[in-house]
Subunit: 105 residues, 2 copies
Amino acid sequence: MSWAVIFSSQRTDADPAGYAAAAVRMLDLAAQQPGYVGVEDARDEDGFGITISYWEDLESIGLWREQAEHLMVQQLGRERWYKSYHLRVCRIERESSFEQTANDG
Amino acid sequence: MSWAVIFSSQRTDADPAGYAAAAVRMLDLAAQQPGYVGVEDARDEDGFGITISYWEDLESIGLWREQAEHLMVQQLGRERWYKSYHLRVCRIERESSFEQTANDG
């Protein structure tokens, strides 16, 4: 059974270059954490975005939350980059997927 | 305790008008379902998107999945609109939020 951390956020207009650099760096750092499974990310043109990170267990989520560089970036996020955000830690109970097969037409 | 259904999808290029109309209609229909809490949605310019619907309980998620018009639209989604998708049913274990206060500067 794995876990998902849903991070829904509304960006400010501030510091797009700093934000973009930090976002890339955080994806890179997260992927090096113990228990990391993967990440999905989508952001609208109006600055509303959803980032979901997937983890093997709750302990891994706690370690990532307290990772030193990540803590600094969380602080910058609150000061500069996010108007608002919502964070939800979830246990995945069921999952399924679909892949389109090659089309005849 | 509430629940989240994470729907991560990659759009095809097909039928953008039909897709857009169905998306609006489904958001509207979902909001009329018992146990509906809310929805969040973001899609990148490259067609990767995340839609999360929130529900009071697992039973409400089951009713929505089997809703007649929704079933037809799920079928169209697999035939036309989605290259691939991943569906995850999750129990929300913790949540927190942040709202930026007015700036002095």
